[in-house]
Symmetry: C2
Subunit: 204 residues, 2 copies
């Protein structure tokens, strides 16, 4: 099913994944409405008819871009989080990676999900962001709960509350990055966020 077998017609001259990545750059930098299909077409290296054939209209393309983004850039903090052994290092890596990709390119500060898709008037985009926040929160909560099980965190620690604090801190980092807060300040906030999530009164 994944095997592409022999294509019958003319082979496509683009790679769907990288085309979506290029589109993400444009949306991220310009926003949904201000990203014209000419900009997108140029960046994706495919004509407008090919875009419509492959992804549908502008809104459908945007939603496809959001899905792709969640799997790639958007999930680097969570991957960094999962890669660490101790819960302290995991949280630290999570926030540090958040700062990293929200301040990486000055042409598109902040987060494509948190700062661009949220600003859109497309209900699907907003619910997508909301659902993604919930997913992140659950993943962090699971890890925190495991840390409680291991005895790495005190038994009265509330994993749910800690995860909510973590997501809130992430949102704040994205919002600050968007308006040009210098990376050093954000790294301070990131370190602070780790200690806040682990702070003792995280019990219900």
């Amino acid at each position: 099913m994944v095997e592409k077998s022999k294509q019958r017609g003319r082979p496509r001259a683009y790679d769907p994944a990288t085309a979506l990545d290029s589109a993400a750059e444009i949306f991220w930098a310009n926003g949904f409405s201000d990203a014209s299909l000419d900009d997108l077409s140029a960046a994706m290296g495919m004509g407008r008819p090919s875009i419509y054939n492959a992804f549908g209209d502008k809104q459908a393309l945007f939603l496809r871009v959001l899905e792709r983004f969640r799997e790639t850039t958007g999930s680097t903090p969570l991957r960094a989080f999962a890669a660490e052994d101790s819960i302290d290092a995991a949280l630290d890596a999570f926030f540090r990676q958040t700062v990293e990709y929200t301040t990486g390119d000055s042409s598109h500060l902040g987060c494509l999900l948190g700062n661009v898709a949220s600003a859109t008037e497309l209900p699907e985009a907003r619910t997508f962001v909301k659902a993604n926040l919930a997913l992140v929160e659950v993943e962090i909560a699971d890890r925190l709960a495991a840390a409680v099980q291991c005895g790495e965190l005190p038994s009265d620690y509330s994993a749910a509350l800690g995860a909510r604090r973590a997501v809130n801190a992430m949102l704040a980092l994205g919002a600050r990055a968007r308006v040009g807060t210098p990376r050093e300040d954000l790294l301070d906030d990131a370190a602070e966020a780790t200690s806040m999530v682990l702070a003792t009164p995280a019990a219900a």
Copy 2:
């Protein structure tokens, strides 16, 4: 100087302040690019030429709207903050008011500054938001520092850090409100934010 003296020509048929308030509703609900001048004209009750005559082009109007918004709706949390006596009640009122106006009208969730102006590609709008965040942070820091002076907070409490936590919590509330998080959840976050700001390890 405030006296309007006798106007020489035809009297204007609009009130500049309320016109800006109406424009804020449109920008808040539709975003900058998707708010057409026809929409704005209809909401403000003045023809496009009058808009240009009074406020300049669309971008200039938007910046005027942001200034007006900061003085009115945008500062309700800070006014509620300043109106309370105890620092606990002040922070509580601050966050509660933030939740209030970011979830007040379902047609424009979130904050005009934090969720709309930040998403824009207008550099002036972004720096405006950044400057406003700094102002809020300073005002809260001053109040926290005064509370330390009064002995209402421990002498080793860091007002600067507490204010930064408060602004970050505010940003998170706005981001969550934007994507449709129910008000009850946000009120929980608001209460949590108060205790986080006051948490003891707020020392440098």
